[in-house]
Symmetry: C2
Subunit: 545 residues, 2 copies
């Protein structure tokens, strides 16, 4: 039996029309270093129409990719809305990608137009000659003439281009499963992989971002979006702000603690989102120079695990609640947010707040054990996290229809590559990446937990733990430890130190003392290198087994 | 270009699975007159599985209608979830319909099973012999043997039936546009008309109900759902509570002010929803016997316009915020909610709070002027409200595919039959029903506004205003006024009294003094009767024109 409901698609064109009319008084403000440049959502709608008219003039039609290479600012928000609303596909380029990755993703996505911030021309200009499909570059917020155009590429000034266009555009309402935006994962191995969001997924995700189970946004909010718009859609904050009629505060290129605190002092945002390293810096700056930041009712933090000590410092010293969240580019990114459940004590609430958060109804989650069975959500059993839902990717973008990395998908679920446990009431605690977890006699050992336990010893500067083959147990952990300068400790003493910190069967037998843990370009432990050294017999290993 | 997102349908089966696992600690509690009967969402999931197994045993399959004839209680919530989750269609019968309407809707919907509260058997028993398609009746909360079964109908005890069933059921995930639930409008003229909600519309509507722009529900809430579950899905509260992991408090048949206040004193709900008459009664009871009700953070009120004086009394005397909302069965029902915009004074906030509310992004709204053109949203121009969106009906249910009341639909929009104005920032103010608005010389006059203005005169007990044909202006208002006992005033004095209250061109020339305004069965002014009397020349009319 069919329903009688209207067949109204979820559409970013509808969202733009809504925000620019019934929420026309809300505004986006971009920090200039000393104050803000402001665009009301009414003006945003008119600029979006001008940009859409200009893009149509370039021949951009439904499904064509239009890229941005920008900081978080007013003009980026215009492109964010104009491009999907006209039926084209927004591709926010990550300005921090390695050059070869940046060139790969722009060519792979076949970007036809790029909107670039003038301050990023020195960087973008180096890539432009290698971008094979780009025909037009629009330079915003500065002098377009600073960019040298290769043959076949026309460079435009954003302001001049828009000034010559009509500020009305009949944004089409298209199938809700059509592409609206795309984003590439910046994996450490292999080529970046593209995720293509739909109008439907962006709309549903924005509704969830607004939900009290997530960020609880409303028209009274002023949202400081520090998380870059090229990083998993700035966690959905831009579209959610338009839906809620909330103000947006954009930091542009001023991402250091001092300017962030200065814009907070002036603009008094009520909500903010950024990765942990930003907040570590802000916390240190606040120590040096105290400032009232209680205008922030909530701060959402994700991207990597948040140290509980930082959450407590924000709460206790500054009266600001940090919401820990988990997600990834493949999940739009909102997966789970750590709001404690009802009827718990303050102390119990903290135990929930330091988890990766609780799943909402739209994100189905399960754990897969080593033998492929579904593990129970008992808060103890470890498994690889798999998720499914309407804003979770079911594949990676493939221009020729070939399967890209099909091993990431399992029976309609996304394999996240994260290993953790889920409590009966739906809270996720991650313990490791699946490639790093150690599979010992049918049980899983978290390399991260062992590393943290070893690094708690005063003589240890850092330690990386990885699994090595073992005849009896399949795999056993090997600890590669770096001593602090002048410190001295042996493997027996370290093993004894761990005895009351980890389960007995997890205690490592194999130890190696090394000079330094190899790191990736973004500073993470590079266990690939250690594994290779071990395989080549280049590590001195003490075996206490 | 297609997105890479998973093709995951929005489904009440997914919602039930979610609530009964990750929100299994949340609960629904039903008032018994002295305390509560409690069902956790975990238990709800198991009972829903048992009910689904029993219904499958009756041969109920995808698309079959299963009705309820119940108060708001635990067992009603079980049916609310089990029936759509198994792919069948929930039809909550309005126990207050006139007998012939009740029989019409049950037969029109072809209900095969009815779940009935034992306390309603005296009422339901009278209808049952006329229900042509019903094969099974399940009696909850009392003795099933009290119901006499006509030939072809089997009567079951809810408890006994469920006890014999497995508490697990593999709820199917079906097309999101499939029917999940249906509801009939109880129009004052003609047969009731059916609206069929989809899994998609219920899910999206629940997300919106949870949004801070609407009710802002979260897992800390305990929601007192006074609005009946047979009345436009209890405004979406049941599914929203499951989505938010909020507790539900159900009043069963205890709907008088005293028991409502008693359950509030015991259960301390944080949120409540009911029509204005309920709150008028509660307010009077609180005057007589004060009670702290500040545990209520918000109360949502809709169904008919809320007197501003009542909103202010709740806020100022009891510290409780009333949210005025507008919607109808055809809109699931959430249309607009009156949260004031940002950056307004308290006084300005009140001007917004007494409107019918602001539209969210999912509900598109426009006004249609008398000439069929779209009227501007300038906060002044009147027009008939038309709405569209994913939880708004596009037709009425028709078993044989024939068009039912096609005049209610206009180019993909629902004609609401309400006349009002919309401010530039999306706030709706209704002034009249479209059938009652007076069309005078191309301008519209609100009959309701004129009635309120006339009734403000101390000599007037009540007054009904309706349009009568006029050669020059097409239509002009006629005031049918009832004098207070012993009072005396003439038409000239009344017209003078209005002079500084309404625009000069709206001042009525035609006046008639009558003994009583005819009323409908639910107490509304029945202007049909007055119009007929006028046409028959049965009204004494003074014409000052």
């Amino acid at each position: 039996m069919l329903s009688t409901m209207q067949d109204e698609p979820l559409s970013l064109a509808t969202l733009l029309r809504y925000a620019s009319t019934f929420q026309s008084e809300a505004k986006v403000a971009t920090w200039t270093g000393a104050g803000t440049r402001v665009l009301t959502y009414g003006e945003l709608g008119r600029q979006a129409a001008q940009l859409a008219n200009a893009l149509r003039g370039f021949g951009i039609g439904e499904g064509d990719r239009v890229a941005t290479f920008m900081w978080n600012n007013n003009e980026h928000l215009v492109a964010y809305n104009a491009v999907p609303a006209m039926g084209a596909v927004l591709h926010a380029l990550n300005i921090r990608l390695f050059p070869e990755q940046l060139i790969f993703v722009a060519n792979h996505a076949e970007d036809k137009v790029v909107v670039v911030d003038a301050t990023l021309i020195p960087l973008f200009g180096k890539y432009l000659p290698s971008l094979k499909t780009v025909q037009h570059v629009i330079v915003a917020n500065g002098d377009a003439s600073a960019l040298e155009a290769p043959a076949g590429v026309t460079v435009h000034s954003y302001d001049e281009l828009l000034a010559s266009q009509s500020d009305s555009f009949d944004f089409p309402v298209i199938d809700e499963k059509s592409a609206a935006a795309m984003c590439y994962t910046s994996g450490t191995t292999g080529d970046p992989k593209g995720v293509v969001y739909s109008h439907r997924s962006c709309w549903l995700h924005a509704m969830q971002v607004c939900s009290p189970m997530a960020m609880g946004l409303n028209s009274q909010d002023n949202i400081l979006a520090i998380v870059p718009m090229f990083h998993a859609n700035a966690w959905g904050l831009p579209y959610a702000a338009l839906m809620a009629g909330a103000d947006l505060l954009m930091p542009d290129r001023f991402l250091q603690p001092d300017p962030l605190l200065q814009m907070m002092a002036t603009e008094k945002p009520t909500f903010a989102g950024a990765v942990p390293t930003i907040w570590t810096g802000v916390l240190a700056a606040l120590e040096a120079k105290p400032q009232d930041i209680t205008h922030l009712r909530d701060v959402i933090v994700g991207g990597s695990a948040v140290p509980p000590s930082m959450m407590k410092a924000f709460q206790e010293k500054h009266g600001v609640r940090i919401l820990h969240a988990w997600g990834m580019t493949e999940t739009s990114p909102l997966g789970s947010v750590a709001h404690p459940p009802a009827h718990v004590t303050d102390e119990q609430a903290w135990e929930y707040r330091i988890t990766q958060g609780r799943f909402p109804a739209s994100v189905q989650a399960r754990l897969i054990a080593d033998d492929g069975s579904v593990a129970p959500n008992d808060g103890e059993t470890l498994g690889e996290l798999e998720v499914r839902g309407p804003w979770i990717t079911g594949s990676y973008y493939s221009p020729d229809g070939s399967d890209i990395d099909p091993g990431k998908f399992h029976d309609g679920w996304l394999k996240t590559g994260d290993v953790g446990k889920i409590s009966p009431n739906g809270f996720l605690t991650l313990v490791d990446r699946s490639k790093d977890v150690i599979k010992s006699g049918g049980e899983w050992i978290s390399s991260v937990d062992l590393e943290n336990a070893v690094m708690a010893h005063p003589a240890i500067a850092e330690a990386a733990v990885f699994g090595v083959p073992d005849e009896k147990w399949d795999e056993r952990p090997l600890v590669a430890a770096v001593l602090r300068e002048g410190a001295d400790v042996d493997a027996e003493a370290l093993r004894e130190f761990l005895a009351d910190k980890v389960a007995k069967w997890q205690l490592p037998e194999r130890w190696s003392f090394i000079g330094e843990v190899p790191k990736t370009s973004v500073g993470k432990f590079d266990k690939k290198v250690l594994r290779a050294k071990y395989a080549e017999g280049e590590l001195d290993v003490i075996n206490l087994g």
